[in-house]
């Protein structure tokens, strides 16, 4: 495989993480626990979908195939999406949504910080633009994690349950694909392994403030990065893709 194909794979992986989490968050629109949080979650969803769009645009511009950015976002099959399993996990409740967001935000910020220094100037520019938004996402999710974890008995229990469940999906964040490894060596991507301990430290710092126990287990859920998704994913796609499947190339 040529480097260009690996670059393309990396860009799709970055785009898919943002797109799928953005889709999940937008399911909250109109259902948020309070109007203010409803708008906040929709804002974050829009930020992520906007970032996905930038990655898709760049991927499209490589000219690997004739798929445009809309087709990349809305007309691929399940196994062609390369997002991590964490971001497709169902919203479940506000606690799960906040924990999922918090886990992803810390990870997202770490890789964008690496990508800001990428030898590929386009990637560096997109990362520099995105990281300001992600700083806010992380502030939002950590503030809520702390308040709910260190809140009432019920909110504490709900956050602890979500942390115990979702930490199963953390390990996959740091398992590099072939394309990620090759792009890292080329100075374009990021090395995942060194980020793992940084991620664990940062997560544990906030969990401690939130009076939540950090589960001591190695997450075993993986597959999304290679296109092997959870049973929830097909349902997510059917909703997200419906319009483009029913009316191909429809635009505003």
């Amino acid at each position: 495989m040529q480097n260009k194909q690996h670059l393309y794979n990396l860009l799709l992986h970055l785009a898919d993480n943002d797109l799928i989490l953005g889709q999940r968050l937008s399911e909250w629109c109109g259902h948020g626990p309070a109007l203010e949080q409803d708008i906040a979650l929709s804002n974050i969803a829009l930020d992520l979908i906007g970032q996905a769009e930038m990655w898709f645009q760049y991927a499209q511009s490589l000219g690997i195939n004739d798929k445009n950015q809309d087709q990349l976002a809305f007309a691929r099959n399940e196994w062609e999406y390369k997002n991590v399993l964490l971001v497709e996990y169902p919203n479940t409740d506000f606690g799960y949504t906040i924990v999922r967001q918090f886990f992803y935000d810390i990870f997202h910020k770490l890789i964008l910080t690496e990508l800001k220094e990428s030898a590929d100037t386009q990637i560096a520019a997109i990362a520099a633009k995105s990281i300001k938004e992600v700083d806010y996402h992380l502030k939002f999710s950590s503030e809520w994690l702390i308040r709910l974890g260190d809140g009432t008995e019920l909110s504490h229990q709900k956050i602890q349950t979500a942390v115990n469940e979702l930490c199963d999906f953390a390990n996959e964040l740091f398992l590099p694909t072939e394309s990620e490894s090759i792009m890292a060596k080329a100075g374009i991507g990021y090395e995942l392994e060194p980020l793992r301990s940084v991620w664990i430290d940062e997560v544990q710092n906030i969990l401690k403030i939130a009076t939540i126990d950090a589960p001591d287990k190695e997450g075993h859920q993986k597959g999304g990065k290679n296109g092997i998704h959870s049973e929830y994913f097909g349902h997510l796609l059917s909703e997200m893709q419906f319009l483009q499947r029913a009316y191909p190339n429809l635009s505003w």
């Binding site: 626990p33 309070a34 109007l35 203010e36 906040a40 502030k139 939002f140 503030e143 308040r147």
Partner: protein
């Protein structure tokens, strides 16, 4: 956390540096930090400005409309207090 227990906050936004903060609306939040985040999310989505103040509504004290005659009516016939007898140079903005 029950939303009914969240206090009400008044939101003030400075539309640009040099101008004063203006009241733009209110929202519910459990504390000042979240109130600022909520204000950012609800009231600054369209570039409304670079600075936000939030004040818990219970800390704002208002005049009683029943006192309006006593407080405000008396100023109305004192037109000489208004700076409307001066020509304002075109260059002066924001008055």
């Amino acid at each position: 956390m029950n939303k009914a227990e969240w206090p009400l906050w008044e939101v003030f936004i400075r539309s640009k540096n040099g101008l004063s903060h203006k009241h733009v609306g209110s929202l519910h939040a459990p504390d000042s930090e979240i109130a600022l985040e909520n204000a950012r999310d609800v009231y600054t989505r369209r570039n409304e400005g670079p600075s936000i103040w939030v004040v818990e509504s219970k800390n704002i004290f208002a005049t009683d409309p029943a006192d309006n005659d006593m407080l405000f009516e008396t100023a109305k016939n004192k037109i000489y207090r208004h700076p409307s007898f001066y020509d304002i140079p075109k260059e002066v903005k924001n008055i």
